[in-house]
């Protein structure tokens, strides 16, 4: 689902330092934050919204659409399962370094409740000019402006750079979809691509991938079927194999998930691949002209 202004957001961990900083930024931007969770501060108010003991308690006080987690790694599983059982349609999990077995239990809970998970280890979602959920500089108009380009990224920092490159060239964004840098994310690049393909406000897509896994190969398979132009950048061409490059998912081992195979798959599907992110706006212009 694409985040819209009217979506009601519950912030788990709202009273913490990061929870407070980013919730305030979201509210200033126009996000519809309806409450927060902190078991120790249940019954109080924070940033003008009620704080509940759990997501299930919050749901009793009124339905919400999105749960956004500012929760440390070892507590993330319980918070995510709470949000799923409380009926969250979308769970945005920012937390990095959650034990993998906990992540698999989170996904199992989400399957049972029909919740879509974005992340873990995502920087969140931005719908420029409307709302955002997460830790992206949505409010910085040098980086994000309303427009028609959908941006999908496994990395928040690279997604920021790419959005900046687009904005510098007069290309605003319809959606920023941070899928996350972990190996077992809930919403894949391919699924995000499918959503942007179906979104009437999105006319073209920039896919920011990285080495490791098979997310780009899977996305390429779908991009082949799209009429909207798709261009891509893949980070990690100069990264040594066998090393985890910060993201747990960004590792090349046994010939799996290397740069060349990703680039080959995308180009074979008709997706133009940039050598450096600054080439993306021009590649996109060319593709848009070709379609028009």
């Amino acid at each position: 689902m694409i985040l819209r202004k009217e979506h009601k957001i519950l912030v788990q961990g709202i009273t913490g330092k990061q929870g407070t900083f980013w919730t305030r930024a979201m509210q200033d931007y126009g996000a519809n934050v309806i409450g927060g969770v902190n078991p120790k501060k249940a019954g109080t108010e924070h940033l003008g919204v009620p704080v509940h003991a759990s997501a299930r308690d919050a749901a009793k006080a009124g339905a919400f659409d999105v749960a956004l987690m500012f929760i440390p790694p070892m507590a993330a599983k319980a918070a995510a399962i709470d949000a799923c059982e409380a009926g969250a349609k979308l769970l945005v999990c920012l937390t990095e370094h959650i034990p993998a077995h906990d992540v698999m239990e989170m996904h199992a809970a989400a399957r049972a409740s029909g919740t879509r998970i974005v992340g873990p280890n995502t920087a969140g979602l931005v719908t420029p000019g409307e709302t955002f959920a997460g830790i992206m500089p949505a409010f910085n108009t040098n980086v994000f402006r309303p427009g028609s380009v959908g941006v999908i990224s496994r990395s928040g920092s690279l997604g920021t750079l790419v959005s900046l490159n687009l904005t510098q060239n007069g290309m605003g964004q319809s959606v920023f979809y941070g899928v996350g840098g972990d190996p077992m994310i809930g919403t894949t690049s391919r699924e995000a691509l499918e959503m942007l393909d179906a979104d009437p406000k999105t006319e073209s897509v920039v896919l920011c991938g990285e080495i490791g896994g098979s997310a780009e190969e899977d996305a390429a398979e779908y991009a082949r079927t799209m009429s909207k132009p798709v261009v891509a950048f893949i980070a990690g061409r100069a990264s040594p194999p066998g090393k985890k490059m910060g993201h747990a998912g960004a590792i090349v081992s046994g010939g799996q998930g290397d740069y060349a195979s990703k680039r080959r798959a995308l180009e074979a599907a008709g997706v133009a691949v940039a050598d450096v992110p600054s080439q993306l706006p021009e590649l996109l212009s060319e593709r848009l002209k070709a379609v028009a």
Partner: protein, 378 residues
């Protein structure tokens, strides 16, 4: 986090899998004593890498004298970049069949996956590549776990010489160990059926999920040391991710994706990155530590600082870098490009304190850093 065979196999035993009697030794005299106690044995190099057999690191010994001679030959060998310093002296097992079994985290199903093949042994990868049906796969619902019936269904129709029940029990025990020890991967190759019909794990590969190391304190200390440079070790202690590369342009950026991209850009514009240092996530307040580590690399000819802050606030990072720069007073040139949260404050600070104008475009900063590194080297 990888574990060598000697540290991984006892975990299987604790979960109910049979393993041969064995002793860990570090010299040939101890190998002799262990072989005397155990009888006919296998002398096995303990290094955190595969292909030990092919490299000559695994030898059969019928007598204690033979075990001692093999130990002398294998200790000190280089296998896959590791020097052999430890040996496992393990009792010989009469092998009837060699099988393969593993449990791992599967990104596609977002759950555990059990693997099984009757083509165990040294060439299982090649064998299953030629014939993918030779590797059977069973996705597991993590909330339910693996039952004996599930395991039997995975073995259904295979000719296992009457050992199917015992193999199924071994798979259930393997899954139990995988869950108990938060494994990313737990692999037994070979899992053998002995001549008298028992099922025994002859080798084991165990990868502990780094993120769960906190709940396995006792285990983590037995993890095999990763090959690291001194600076990489210092960075790890400071809670930073640093990787040493061969070139001359230092890269300091926030977030894994942006750091990789910055290195790619350095290469694209004809330079060579000297190192990778990421100050993303919670580490963005550690700019001073980060800079000290980067500058300790003697190959550095220029430094590129690329901040495109999302979660990481560029004003906080820039303050750390500027203060550290003034403290350390390095002689190499530095090039900045700064965007994102807090960029106005960050840019103003760099201008005021260092008298340096940050570049608006990353590409311009990269080009400048690459050309400065070349000038310095010339």
């Amino acid at each position: 986090m990888n574990f060598e065979e000697y540290a991984a196999k006892p975990l299987l035993a604790k979960s109910g899998l049979a393993i041969p009697p064995a002793r860990l030794v570090a010299d040939s005299e101890a190998a002799y004593a262990a072989a005397q106690a155990i009888g006919p044995c296998v002398v096995k190099a303990q290094v955190p890498t595969g292909k030990r057999g092919k490299a000559g690191g695994i030898k059969l010994a019928a007598t204690a004298d033979e075990a001692k001679a093999h130990a002398k030959a294998i200790l000190g060998m280089e296998i896959g970049g590791f020097t052999v310093e430890k040996l496992l002296i393990e009792g010989q097992v009469p092998i009837a069949r060699e099988l393969y079994a593993a449990v791992l985290n599967d990104p596609k199903t977002r759950g555990p996956m059990v693997l099984f093949s009757t083509m165990g042994g040294m060439d299982v990868e090649e064998a299953t590549e030629k014939d993918p049906t030779a590797m059977r796969r069973l996705p597991v619902d993590i909330t339910k776990g693996l039952s004996r019936d599930d395991a039997l269904s995975l073995l259904d129709g295979l000719d296992l010489s009457g050992a199917a029940d015992k193999i199924a029990d071994s798979l259930v025990a393997l899954y139990r160990a995988y869950r108990k020890y938060d494994a990313d991967l737990l692999e037994i190759n070979p899992l053998v059926v002995t001549e008298d019909g028992n099922v025994v794990a002859l080798d084991c590969k165990f990868v502990l999920d780094d993120s769960s190391a906190g709940r396995h304190q006792g285990l983590a200390e037995f993890a095999a040391a990763e090959p690291q440079t001194e600076l990489e070790e210092a960075a790890q202690k400071a809670g930073l991710r640093y990787i040493e590369l061969g070139g001359s342009v230092g890269v300091l950026a926030n977030g894994a994706g942006l750091t990789m991209t910055t290195m790619d850009a350095v290469t694209h514009y004809g330079g060579e990155p000297a190192n990778f240092l990421e100050v993303g996530g919670e580490a963005y307040t550690k700019a001073k530590d980060a800079l000290s580590i980067l500058l300790a690399n003697p190959n550095l000819r220029s430094l590129l600082v690329n901040f495109c802050g999302a979660f990481a606030r560029t004003d906080v990072m820039a303050e750390g870098v500027v203060n550290a720069w003034k403290d350390l007073n390095p002689s190499i040139p530095v090039f900045f490009t700064i965007h994102g949260t807090g960029e106005d404050e960050a840019i103003a600070l760099v201008k005021k304190e260092l008298g340096i104008e940050p570049f608006d475009l990353m590409d311009d900063a990269v080009r400048a850093a690459v050309s400065a590194a070349k000038e310095k080297a010339a």
